[in-house]
């Protein structure tokens, strides 16, 4: 390779030799093809467990005595939001003070009182007779304007509005207005958590806030105001977005629709089948937390549009007021036994319906103001429709089919050939059938179908029996991305007792040859 000829080589040629060597090196270094080699991979990818709580999400609470699991649910299906009690209408209050004379100027010395008035701010548009509210949120946006050529001091107090025990006041000092310009000040008072006495100045009224407004010239400023007949002082107070936490008073005889449409089984997950649902207890409760009497009428109960009959339907039920002691409440409860429906509510439920609908209505204070204006409501403890269910899992399952769909992101693993190895360990005492459909975003690839069976884990078995399945995969399939749809089917021959501890373990690993390419 090297035929060195050093004859006559000198200092100058030595540099040329180095240059030639560098050029040679660079030439070789630039003409590179991709480097490729194969590696044998065996890696675990997925290890997941499917349990009862995955099927019933967080709506289910299991208990077990070691042999039989019980699905016990006690929770609200729906809560009753009474908008008329929880939101006060926005109210605007304005005061406009103008002199009683024409011309001027009229000299007003420091410390003079121009207006001192005590009056109620009345909330309009409220059908109820409120005496007290505690606000969840709300605010007062105020604006004070003056065209008086002199300092104007304003003190607006609300003795019936307190926040953290402190009275809410507004103090504003406006400088003199010159050359006809109007001096003004605006701002906002946050009423979050405010407690408001709505009995007004007299203490016997309803829906009104006592206020005192004083306008004058400040005594501590040696300024004599020049007041003309066309001067004015304008005050506006805008009560906004007042959301009620607690309210007391008389709520009136209000008629409220009570309609509930509850999703039960998502048809995207529960494809079909039947579960023998035989609860030992199933009650529908209405818990009245209102400090007001109710007359409740349930008109209909339907499962996926199939109407049910029950002795309580259409019969008005008088529910007495809840007992409030401070912040503690003892609700009044009316209940109906769901096991008495015809046809059976749970037989219909066993067919995995999408929704359950309850239609009804309620009337507040059907007997009038029997409490003398002492109705009470806390928006954080609303009346609720509660399901009380206890279901021992000793049941029969017929062709129950569940589906999970997973998006598969593209995976760049060029030149891969191998297997995706699924290992299923069935801990349920029922036979499972599994179907996998892998659809690819790359339309040129045919969907991959795969079916497998996993035997039941029986009580006399001492070891798990994992079942392994292999799916051939390629880099093209991995790179495509797509969706993996897994459908599991379950069937029992007769009733089967579930302990509640059953689990299904799914493990996925990849084994194959990957050709690494370095470009």
């Amino acid at each position: 390779m090297m035929n060195w000829n050093f004859d006559g080589i000198g200092g100058v040629r030595h540099g040329a030799l180095l240059a030639v060597m560098v050029a040679f090196a660079l030439t070789i270094g630039c003409n590179r093809a991709p480097i490729r080699w194969e590696v044998d991979l065996a890696l675990p990818l997925i290890d997941d467990v499917i349990e009862w709580t995955d099927v019933f999400s967080d709506t289910a609470l299991f208990s077990t005595d070691g042999t039989t699991a019980t699905l016990a649910y006690h929770g609200a299906l729906s809560s009753w939001d009474i908008a008329s009690l929880t939101q006060l209408p926005d109210t605007l209050v304005t005061e406009d003070l103008s002199p009683d004379f024409i011309g001027g100027p009229f000299q007003v010395p420091p410390g003079a009182i121009l207006l001192d008035t005590e009056e109620d701010i009345v909330f309009q548009g409220i059908d109820q007779a409120f005496r007290y509210i505690r606000l969840e949120s709300g605010s007062i946006s105020y604006s004070v304007e003056s065209s008086t050529n002199g300092y104007v001091e304003l003190h607006y107090s609300f003795p019936s509005v307190t926040i953290g025990g402190q009275e809410v006041n507004l103090d504003v000092l406006l400088p003199p207005s010159v050359s006809g310009a109007i001096q003004s000040e605006t701002g906002t008072i946050d009423l979050t958590g405010a407690e408001i006495d709505l009995t007004g100045v007299s203490g016997t009224e309803i829906n009104r806030i006592a206020s005192q407004l004083t306008i004058g010239t400040p005594a501590y400023l040696p300024d004599t105001a020049q007041v003309y007949g066309d001067d004015s002082i304008r005050v506006s107070m805008h009560f906004q977005d007042m959301m009620v936490r607690q309210v007391a008073g008389y709520f009136g005889e209000e008629f409220v629709d009570l309609n509930v449409d509850q999703t039960v089984f998502d048809p995207e997950i529960f494809l079909g089948g039947f579960i023998d649902v035989s609860p030992s207890r199933a009650r529908l409760e209405f818990q009245n937390t209102l400090g007001a009497d109710l007359r409740l009428t349930l008109d209909a109960l339907s499962v996926d549009g199939i109407a049910l009959d029950h002795p309580a339907f259409g019969v008005p039920q008088l529910i007495s007021r809840a007992d409030w002691q401070g912040d503690a409440v003892v609700p009044a409860i009316w209940e109906m036994d769901l096991l008495q429906t015809g046809p059976s509510f749970f037989e219909l439920l066993g067919y995995l319906p999408q929704s359950v609908t309850v239609l009804g209505s309620a009337t507040l204070n059907p007997l009038g103001d029997v409490s003398g204006g002492n109705d009470f409501f806390d928006s954080q403890v609303p009346p609720e429709l509660v399901l009380d269910l206890e279901w021992p899992l000793n049941t029969q399952i017929e062709h129950l089919r569940l589906r999970q769909v997973r998006d598969m992101d593209p995976i760049s693993l060029p030149d891969f050939n191998g297997d995706l190895v699924f290992e299923v360990t069935n801990g349920f005492p029922v036979h499972w059938g599994l179907e996998w459909v892998w659809t690819f975003d790359n339309a040129s690839l045919e969907p991959l179908f795969f079916a497998a069976e996993s035997p039941a884990f029986l009580s006399d078995m001492t070891e798990d029996v994992p079942v392994e399945y292999r799916i051939p995969i390629s880099s093209e399939m991995l790179l495509s991305g797509g969706q993996l749809e897994i459908t599991g089917s379950m069937h029992t021959d007769g009733a089967v007792v579930f302990s509640g501890n059953e689990r299904m373990r799914l493990q996925v690993r990849v084994e194959g040859v990957h050709e690494v390419v370095i470009k």
Binding site: F6, F24, V39, L43
Partner: protein
Amino acid sequence: MKHGANHTILFLLGLALLLIPAELAAQVEAGISVDSLVNEPFMDQWSATVWGQHRSNTLDHELGGILLRGGMIDRDLVESALANLKGDMGAFGFSAGGLFKWSSTRFWKETDARICGSIQGRSLVDARWTQEMFELAFMGNQGHLGRWDVLDGSQLRTTVWGTATVGLEGRYNNRIELGLAYRKVQMAGQIHTGYFRVNEDVDSLYVSMRADASIDSRAGLGLAINGEWHFIREEAPFAFHVQIQNLGWVVVPGGGPRYAVDTLLETSGLALDGPGWSLETLQSAGFVEDFLNVDTAGVSLQRLPGRCDIAMEYPLGPRSGWDVTLQIGEWMPLPRVMMGYRRAFGKQWQAGIQGVVGGWGRLRPAAWVRWRVPNERALTLFVEDPWGWGSSSAFGRGLTLRFEGL
């Protein structure tokens, strides 16, 4: 995670390949001090040396050539390289550069010392890997399920620097030089601790990694010292030489990126969804940032990859002798030892053969020849592993060319 391990080693190897100027090969300077045998009188001296070498204890030319030029790496080549490791860590080194040294004819002031100096430019590549790392990268993990793969100490670093120094040269060519060092660039990456294991049933994976890497792309400036001390006495039956090169530090202004990984994953597979390690979080944005820490390096003081050579020569007769040289430093994983026999042929030719061991490779031969040309000039050619120029099974080659004025 295996894929990640592949990328790590490939990144290291790729970086090496980018920085290796192909097969520009020649062996390191090593101080072929043949002058001591012929006992020339003092006179104005200069020498210009260029060299280049690459060496590995694992990668033979066939595998190295594919890594260099591209192509398909056959499994037999990988298994052969694996067998060559013999339980040691794999190593690859590349060194190239040029050096010009001179000394003045005039004495400095009233002393018997003369002004001398040198200018040089060098580049280095040092890569090391554990046997398990090599096997993971080039063969995969399926062949050794259940084994703990230890990745500790796998690393790659490369640097380019130069120095310009001046100093004084006294009797016996003893000299000391001090000057400026300019380091153009340096990159380094290292796995401090790393383990990988997949069990026999392929349902348990353990990966841990604590590693860092940095790229100092901004040039650093500093000081470097070169020194030589020669014990040459007519009454002594041997000669002894000590040479220190590039003992110095540079101040690196910082600003380059630094990467750090410190993570552990032990799983029997990822859950489909949920917090922590799951397919859901793995596919979510920002997942990598959770365990890859990236920041910017600050100003730092870094040492140059200096080297110390210790050599001894022993004459066996008026025209022959043997020599041994020990080289330490310059990122070599093991000290490099050269031992050989030399002989003069007439007044113009000298030659020698040597055995070289250590550095980045195992035992290999070397040979040199020196031709004293007219007009007080000499040309020396040193070839390390002469079979490396024609055999695909050799593990490196080296070439040094020196032209000197006597």
